[in-house]
Symmetry: C2
Subunit: 271 residues, 2 copies
DNA sequence: CGCGCTGTTGAAACTTGTCAAAGTTTGTGG
DNA sequence: CCACAAACTTTGACAAGTTTCAACAGCGCG
């Protein structure tokens, strides 16, 4: 399905290699704060995710200005919050490595996962409108993000027009992605939703240099269900059915897509 | 429910009066093109919707610069498209009067209404990401929009920082609104969805100076259903049930809310 | 090594969708 | 201005899909 192409940037296939876990120094308690601070800073110029986060065609000087702006990297352990609804908004975050979910919670306890984010994607733009975050962002595995102080980003983007335009594109992309999810939630049945979800994940892993048809789900069945507007039992059952039909193989969180075409057809076939 | 507060700008209650239909000269065929062009231009400085579209605290000079940027007003008759998915993106639109729906259509014909927009709201931001619109915008009644050429907006926003920030806020607001809809589609049942929908409309009409508990639906049951992920029969039945329960009265498209509290409770009561 | 969290599966209940028919309103053309 | 057609709405009966409840299995962490 074209509609639910959540990650619709067209990655030029420059063989993004897997993100190598950086050796990371202790965050506090060292006797040499200055060099450590420096090592914790992100050098966009060195980052192989640059083309996901930044516009193309920046000059060296501009890249340097951006390097200067980016705040310290922040490591988030699995289960920890990057930010929480209600928290004052000061920055957006570029995921350097890892995997996140974002979601909103209603007073009565119901919650809705609004998205899953992976390396190279931007988190926190919901917070701009009211100067406070409106959803929670939780790491689903140990992760690392680059902090981008938003007011500095705005200032710099008045100087670098391609940066300004890039911000607009990234936000617009999020809007388009959300429309895709609305379509999914509004018009698709359980099997279609799950197929769309898996194909989307596959495409995103693939464009990051990981295998397209074999991956590890970072989230539980319940989280998938919340995202797709289904109960966890339905997710589980539907996965089992896909497996019975030979479309894929499931072992807990390990997924192997065996018949991508079949999954695609599942979505485009009315009834 | 706090979550589905789609129109979450806090309007200072400056008694917005109803938009008076402007007497409009013929759009083409006059012998005096210049004055007509001028009369079709929007003077933001004169517009009583200004505070919805623009940041506060602009200087006279800045307002003038913005006036200069805004392109001709465009009248869209009921049923006409403002833009269509696939069309090249050049501008966003501020609704001056009228009522729109936006929606996406899948190849197999299924479609999803992604939003209903009214005076003071901004349309077209989905188009920024790929330089082409990703959804259709259709007028549900005769409407008028101000065309805002996007590249000029970007240029001007490098000069006027509050304008730049405002753009970010408006886009972020759209993201937050979409999350609300996702919550609605993902976790609520038919009655809750419809209650949320009606309360949201009510709130938005109210903040524009119209009656909060009596209004005309501009859209069909089918369009409501598409937006809420329900079939038109379900919408119709649920409205009838609300009427039987004394929560509101329905006569075709005319709605009168009789018990707003009841509607709100309906949403917050789990099961 | 066991406890708890996560996942699987079955059966029954419930919600919403589907199909069908009839009523109502709106718009158009004579 | 009326008549007719098309579009929209309402309502019922039934079917289908999804959730709920419950029981149990497996994995992983402490």
């Amino acid at each position: 399905m074209e509609m639910y192409d959540a990650d619709c940037r067209k990655p030029r296939r420059t063989a993004l290699t897997q993100i190598k876990p950086q050796t990371v120094v202790a965050e506090i308690g060292s006797s040499h704060p200055a060099p450590i601070l420096h090592s914790l800073r992100t050098a966009c110029s060195q980052c192989n995710l640059r083309e996901l986060c930044l516009p193309l065609g920046l000059s060296d000087k501009e890249i340097h200005q951006i390097d200067e702006m980016i705040g310290a990297r922040r490591r988030i352990k699995r289960g920890q919050h990057l930010y929480t609804a209600g928290e004052p908004f000061t920055a957006i975050y570029a995921i350097r490595s890892g995997f996140f979910k974002t979601g909103v919670i209603m007073e009565d306890g119901r919650d809705q996962v609004t998205g899953f984010q992976m390396a190279g994607e931007i988190l926190g733009m919901d917070g701009i409108s009211n100067e406070q975050h409106t959803c929670d962002a939780v790491a689903l595995e140990d992760s690392e993000v680059c902090t981008i102080p938003f007011s500095e980003l705005e200032r710099l983007s008045t100087e670098i027009r391609s940066l300004q335009h890039h911000i607009h594109k990234v936000m617009s992309r999020e809007i388009v992605r959300d429309h895709g999810v609305m379509m999914l939630l509004g018009t698709m049945r359980a099997e279609e939703r799950l197929a769309a979800f898996l194909l989307n994940l596959s495409q995103r892993f693939s464009s990051r240099g990981y295998a397209a048809n074999e991956f590890h789900l970072r989230m539980t069945r319940e989280e998938i269900g919340s995202y797709l507007g289904l109960k966890l039992e339905t997710v589980s059952r539907t996965l089992s059915k896909f497996q019975d039909d030979g479309l894929l193989s499931v072992q807990q969180k390990h997924i192997q897509l065996l018949n991508t075409e079949g999954l695609k057809q599942l979505m485009n076939t009315r009834r």
